[in-house]
């Protein structure tokens, strides 16, 4: 007997309950939704400035274990500095009228590495010349946020879009008033531009066909809330760009399917937070099987997706976009990712055009 059959049986009971007067509660889930029209854009180009947040997973996990495990605050962990990189993506959006918008997603971690990848990708000159329209912070995690100074020292007036769930330490970072000798994180360059704080109840429409959606979720290492970027590309469909995607790929797409007008699945890019440390869990197989039912046409993944998951997904027929060898030109390479038999990650320097 399939579980859904059992639920259908329960529906009969539910109907009886409705007749007894508690119907309004049950009908809550069936209420009509107001679909969001986010408009359309023409194309999206994503450059992987850096997806290497740490170079050695065992070292990273040793730091977490020594500090007390996955529930400890990330501001309270003495990270091994030589292991740190950071996550940054550069997104260029072409509008239907030919105009363009440039978005930076996240600010990296180690400032030396972040400066290096910014220079290598050309992001530094875009920032210096104020050619970046917005800095979107996916979430407050160390590898996405602690390198904030590298961005602000180049462009302190940049418009920032952050989840409205940042902790006090994060707010002090934005104010340029934070120094932490334990986690070795600091920023003394205050953000002076517009600050947009996005909550979970309302989608933030940035430009035609571009929106930020925040999910108010608890995240390991005492972090709260993550937002993704949603692009509605004309004649193609909806693409998502994520930092870590702690809300889950399919949960994010399920939200989009239920809330974005004209939703048609097309593509995803970014960290998918599945097998981040080459660890496996049977739940991860569920995501592959679930993703096969979604109908995405392009999946560009890296960072905390876990190359094991990407390889398995590729082997099982999901449309994983393969990377190039460009990452080998960078001065430091991770110890684990190259273990995949196919180049299933979009790595540092790779570009995905949608």
């Amino acid at each position: 007997m399939e579980r859904r059959s059992f639920l259908k049986g329960l529906a009969v009971t539910g109907a009886a309950i409705g007749a007894t007067g508690v119907g309004p509660f049950i009908s809550k889930g069936l209420a009509a939704r107001n679909l969001e029209n986010i408009g359309e854009c023409k194309s999206v180009k994503i450059t992987c400035v850096s997806e290497t947040s740490w170079f050695d997973s065992p070292r990273m996990l040793q730091d977490i274990k020594d500090a007390g495990g996955a529930m400890v605050c990330h501001y309270d962990i003495p990270w091994t500095q030589s292991n740190l990189g950071g996550y940054v993506a550069l997104i260029e959006v072409e509008q239907l009228d030919g105009s363009k918008h440039t978005i930076q997603l996240d600010t990296g971690w180690d400032q030396g590495w972040t400066d290096y990848v910014m220079e290598k990708s050309g992001l530094d000159s875009l920032l210096n010349n104020k050619k970046v329209d917005a800095l979107v912070m996916s979430h407050e995690h160390e590898d996405h946020f602690f390198g904030l100074k590298s961005t602000l020292k180049r462009y302190p007036n940049i418009t920032m879009v952050i989840p409205n769930t940042f902790y006090p330490e994060g707010k002090l970072m934005l104010a340029g008033k934070y120094k932490n000798d334990k986690a070795k994180v600091n920023n003394d360059v205050p953000h002076k531009g517009e600050l947009v704080e996005v909550g979970p109840d309302k989608i933030y429409k940035m430009y035609p066909g571009v929106a930020a959606k925040m999910f108010d979720i608890p995240i390991m290492l005492r972090t709260r809330g993550e937002q993704c970027l949603i692009f509605n590309i004309k004649d193609k469909g909806v693409a998502t760009v994520t930092g870590c995607c702690h809300m889950g790929l399919l949960t994010m797409l399920n939200w989009a399917a239920r809330n974005v007008e004209g939703y048609k699945p097309y593509a995803c890019y970014g960290g998918l937070h599945i097998a981040a440390f080459e660890n496996w869990d049977p739940k991860f197989d569920d995501i592959i099987r679930g993703a096969k039912k979604i109908g995405l046409q392009k999946m560009g993944c890296n960072h905390c997706t876990g190359w094991i998951w990407a390889q398995k997904a590729h082997d099982m027929g999901l449309p994983i976009v393969l990377g190039t060898q460009k990452y080998k030109e960078y001065k430091k390479l991770p110890t684990t990712g190259p273990g995949a038999k196919d180049n299933v990650y979009l790595r540092n320097g790779d570009v995905m055009v949608l």
């Binding site: 049950i26 889930g29 500090a67 495990g69 529930m71 999910f215 005492r222 889950g248 080459e278 094991i308």
Partner: protein
Amino acid sequence: MTEKMELRWLEERALRDVIPQPFSGLLNLALMVVLSTILYHIFFSPAGYLRLYTPNLGVAIVITILMVIHWGVDCFDFWPFNRRFLKETNVLVKGVVLLLFYVGIALLAMFVLYNEIIGRLGPIFFSGPALLAGGGLGQYAQTARENASYAQIMMNTCIIFFTILWLTGFGYAPWGKSDKLVRAFSVWIMGMFLAIIAFALLFYPHIAYQFYPPQIFMAVSPWWSGWAMTISSFFHFGWMVPALVLLYWTSMFWEGRPFSLIENRFWRGVATTVVVVIGGIIVMLLSNSIMDWYFDTEAFEGGNTVEQPAWRWNHVAEMFMYMATAGAILFYYFDNWPKGLSLLVRAIVRTVIAVVGGLIMAWLYYALGPTFLGNVPGMAMEGDTSLCWTVMLLSLVIAHGVFFDGFPFKKKA
């Protein structure tokens, strides 16, 4: 099959309230809330001192302690401690000695038996240090410990369930006429024997598929995925914990009914087994339907956070553990109120109190946890579970009521 046995210590022991109810119960409850918050902060909280809630290590510790307390109290009737010690020793000394004894055995079970003997010489997945020493992809410091703790949690949950199931359903049959120690060891071994079989069928396939590549020659692909929408074994945890709570309530609230209506111990045991297992599955599926309504979305294969089936099944266990803890508070602190009414009314009132009390506890946990326990606001965080706190509190309430005789607001009659 009949059993003629001497009174167990908890049946022989009589307590009275130092001050009238409900003040006695409320004061003991307040004391325990303060004490448990302090202990959680010292031992488990991510913002505390020892930070053992990693998360799985902390959950494994409290479940192992609960298992050993059940062994000592329900199976062995406090052996090797004799009645003279239990009757005549100062209540605080007795409580501390008993608590340290059972906690010590639990720590030996985890850190010596599982980590250094079973995991080193046999099934390695029970030992974090052995997984780490063995090396290999993904077996790093944090993940190796978490994976091993998961296996221990599931094994120990099976042991608790089958030990309590046997005692509730079969009593000490078929060893009822044997010596006390023979009976105790027989049930103890039977509980573990059934638990090993259950673990092999319900959890071992998960363990084999927890590694990369999957250990396909060690176990079948998890066979429950068509029902569960996940290949995670949380599906079985999700019915086993409610079934265990039904067993708790059978003894505590329903005074053995309805199973005690069956005279024959064998058939009583069979009926108990069938009813609690089916009951556990039904309440798990019903709970999931309630969550569909509450979260305004259904769980689905591959979904995350509140849409993740594995989290849903674990959350059923979490909710029932809140209710079990609320039930234990009613039983130990409020003298299993009400008394004197018909059994049916008593049973219903107590059950309703436990359910409502559990829901209130859950609400308090999520509302106040970020302030007092160091949690992140919200639900369904990766790896996070309230079980560390609830099982710790349940164990403390039992230990307070059983080892410390409910001191200071209760005393021996």
